[in-house]
């Protein structure tokens, strides 16, 4: 009832006919790209370097690993270095669950699933890394409970070099390729550094409600890649 009243009021104000929707439909179908900042257009090595530089600028930490199975040791190292408990909650992602945890990190207690409020640390995968601002793109799904990105105090993320793109638009192109046009997983999280607040006298404090620490394990899974920006 209010729907027709509101739409009617809008149409009267704009002097529009209810059938005038082709412009809107065309824009949704074409989803044109606008200005994309020049800084995102670099060769692959340049994009990875920019991603790392931007993530570190907002208090994330980044470690580069040559292969995925180096992850357990790197995680154990990280937790030890920061004096953190050895309990780790993995995203229920076969690729992460299948890593040599028992062999390479026997001191850790590893479980997978959605976050328990007591979990100190989570380890998740990512859908993309966006070099432009050092941003991670994560999303919900059977292998990605959203609570893992927010409840634990320490969030560790495995990001593959092949997942790093220059700009947000390239990440959307990959989402459309994976999920079809006009469809998204329930939740898409862009994460740029650990949680923070400036609400007390405009001083920046980390760890407001979400993670105090964001640590990115960047896996070099591409051969020395050439230059090139991706198509839409």
């Amino acid at each position: 009832m209010s729907k027709q009243a509101i739409l009617g009021a809008i149409r009267r104000s704009l002097g529009r006919d209810p059938r005038d929707s082709y412009l809107a439909q065309a824009r949704l179908a074409e989803h044109p790209r606008g200005i994309v900042p020049e800084r995102s257009r670099r060769d692959r090595a340049g994009q990875l370097a920019l991603f790392q530089e931007q993530a570190e600028a907002v208090d994330a930490t980044v470690v580069r690993l040559a292969a995925l199975d180096e992850v357990p040791e790197a995680v154990a190292d990280y937790l030890k270095r920061h004096n953190l408990p050895g309990d780790l909650r993995l995203a229920p992602d076969p690729e992460l669950e299948g890593l040599p945890w028992a062999d390479k990190a026997p001191m850790l207690t590893v479980a997978s699933g959605r976050a328990d409020p007591e979990d100190p640390t989570s380890l998740t995968g990512a859908f993309a890394g966006i070099a432009e601002t050092g941003t991670l793109m994560l999303h919900s799904g059977p292998q990605g409970p959203t609570t893992l990105n927010f409840l634990p105090e320490n969030h560790l993320v495995v990001l593959k070099a092949s997942q790093v793109v220059g700009a947000y638009e390239e990440a959307w192109a990959r989402v459309r390729a994976a999920y079809g046009p006009g469809a998204l997983p329930r939740t898409v999280n862009f994460v740029t550094g650990p949680s923070r607040t400036g609400d007390i006298e405009q001083t920046i404090q980390l760890g407001a409600h979400g993670p105090r620490r964001l640590h990115i394990l960047l896996i070099e899974d591409e051969p020395e890649a050439g230059a090139g920006e991706e198509g839409a």
């Binding site: 209010s2 729907k3 009243a5 509101i6 739409l7 009021a9 809008i10 104000s13 704009l14 529009r16 005038d20 929707s21 412009l23 809107a24 439909q25 824009r27 949704l28 989803h31 044109p32 606008g34 200005i35 900042p37 800084r39 931007q54 907002v58 409020p117 601002t133 941003t135 919900s140 799904g141 059977p142 959203t146 609570t147 927010f150 409840l151 947000y168 638009e169 006009g182 998204l184 997983p185 329930r186 939740t187 898409v188 999280n189 862009f190 994460v191 740029t192 607040t197 400036g198 609400d199 007390i200 006298e201 405009q202 001083t203 404090q205 760890g207 407001a208 409600h209 979400g210 993670p211």
Partner: protein
């Protein structure tokens, strides 16, 4: 929220003599202003991105009915429900109805200006629900029973000592002798207190920075992560958003996001930007079982097609108030309703009426800084002038102001008479005040002289001096200026004036 905008003048007076407030507002200068300037300088495309953001939003507003219908279809296709609400009353009723239907007791809330516009907390309480604000700033002012004083930094009017004493008074579960001097200690305590609230809540309410027509998603932008805990832990997620929040595509949302954080806090990107589309899917391990969108009009459809349509481009970044000398002086509470600063001076009369908020468009020095920094290039000063005109037309301005303006118009339309009158005034005042050089009092001039002296005129008007100098050969002037440089040129002019 009930408005006190009618008493803006008294509110402002009180604010000006509040030393705590002065100290808190002083933080803004090194804070937001410097950070925005740095972020803008770091991105060469920033100005072009502002033009683009304006154009995207203009296109969306021109086709708003179409985009809203497409958006709502998508929300429903993803399993969500859209509640179209023409008025604040309808929106409040819809929220309460959803909470009732799931037997809710506690409701966590992410920061939402629309919820403030609806005075949602009071309404939830009146209906037996317990709302808990989760954004740190909102949480602090909820403890104090105050409204926000800034659209992105709701507790900007407070100092850390005030927050510490509120926490001591309210968080009695902690040892009384604990340390609360440092911001970090305050943040940690709020984190601990709110942790349990997220887990206990039955319903989570957030606002939306954008609604995406292409996918039926709502977008929230936060730094704390409170909005994400609010919307992913309870079994029901309610989004309260106004109709102008819609943008066409994911690309359009990203394009505007590029100017949002930079303009607001000077960050390149806020920490968390989250898109939510419908409720939890069958295969998802977590997420809410219900997803509702309260889509609020509340006067906005009437702004379309009017001289205030441009205001609907606003993305609530707060840059206009961060750069406003009036806001710096009086803070946000003086404006008396939800939206302070320049954007509030334009929006508030549109939403609650110029009778109620007619003072706000006058709370401006017309310095133009708000428009210069607005990422959506909203002509704020021009729109404040529109409101002044309407206030005048509708006889809402006080009789003395009206009489003064009518008299001024009479003279302004008759240049000869105007020059004669101002010339006479300059001469008389110039002669009367030659000795002291200033007036501390003047009939009809108390509005000025109560706070500062009036300097004595030079004895002649600008037009008289201008005429005289025009008579001197232009070429002579140029030659003189070139030969002697600007300094001597100015001294010359001063000398001529003394001699006259």
């Amino acid at each position: 929220m009930d408005s006190t905008s009618r008493s803006f003048k008294d509110n402002a007076k009180t604010a000006l003599s509040d030393a705590q407030l002065r100290r808190a507002l002083d933080n803004m200068k090194e804070g937001f202003i410097a950070k925005r300037a740095k972020a803008a300088a770091k991105l060469p495309e920033f100005e072009a991105l502002r033009d683009q953001a304006r154009d995207i939003k203009n296109h969306t507003l021109e086709n708003l009915d179409a985009y809203l219908e497409l958006y709502a279809d998508k929300v429903e296709a993803a399993g969500g429900t859209v509640h179209w609400c023409a008025t604040a009353d309808e929106a409040r009723a819809a929220v309460v109805e959803i909470c009732r239907s799931v037997g809710a007791k506690t409701v966590t809330k992410g920061k939402s200006m629309i919820a403030e516009e609806l005075a949602l907390n009071e309404h939830l309480e009146a209906n037996g629900l317990v709302p808990v604000e989760t954004d740190l700033g909102e949480y602090i002012i909820q403890l104090r029973g105050e409204p926000p004083s800034h659209i992105i930094a709701p507790a900007i009017h407070l100092n850390k000592e005030q927050v510490a004493s509120d926490f001591r008074a309210r968080h009695t579960e902690f040892p009384a002798e604990r340390q609360l001097e440092e911001p970090q200690q305050l943040v940690a305590e709020a984190r601990a207190v709110l942790r349990q609230k997220y887990l206990d809540a039955d319903v989570g309410i957030t606002g939306a920075n954008f609604l995406v027509a292409e996918t039926g998603s709502s977008i929230i932008v936060t730094n704390e992560g409170n909005g994400d805990l609010t919307q992913s832990l309870p079994k029901v997620h309610i989004v309260v958003a106004s109709i102008e929040k819609v943008v066409p595509t994911l690309e359009d949302a990203s394009a505007i996001l590029r100017v949002l954080a930079r303009s607001a806090t000077g960050q390149e990107f806020s920490t968390y930007t989250t898109l939510s589309t419908g409720p939890k899917r069958p295969e998802d391990p977590d997420g809410p079982e219900q997803y509702h969108v309260i889509l609020l009009d509340n006067g906005r459809s009437q702004m379309l097609g009017s001289e205030f349509q441009d205001m609907l481009r606003c993305i609530r970044c707060g840059a206009c108030m961060n750069h406003c000398p009036v806001y710096h002086s009086v803070g946000g509470h003086a404006y008396g309703w939800v939206y302070p600063g320049p954007m509030g001076a334009v929006l508030t009369p549109s939403l609650i009426g110029v009778e109620e908020a007619g003072h706000l468009p006058n709370a401006s020095t017309f310095c133009g800084r708000c428009e210069a920094v607005c990422p959506m290039r909203i002509p704020l000063p021009k729109m404040m002038r529109h409101w002044r005109e309407r206030e005048f037309e509708r006889h809402l301005a006080p009789p003395a102001v009206r009489a003064g303006l009518v008299m001024w118009v009479f003279f302004a339309k008759r240049p000869e008479l105007y020059r004669f009158a101002t010339g006479l005034k300059a001469m008389v005042l110039g002669a009367l005040g030659r000795q002291r050089g200033r007036f501390a009092w003047m009939p009809l001039g108390r509005g000025w002289t109560a706070h500062r002296d009036l300097p004595v005129p030079e004895g002649r008007t600008f037009m008289e001096l201008y005429d005289e100098r025009q008579r001197a050969p232009v070429r002579d002037g140029i030659v003189r200026a070139l030969r002697r440089g600007p300094e001597t040129e100015r001294r010359d002019a001063a000398g001529e004036r003394d001699a006259a």
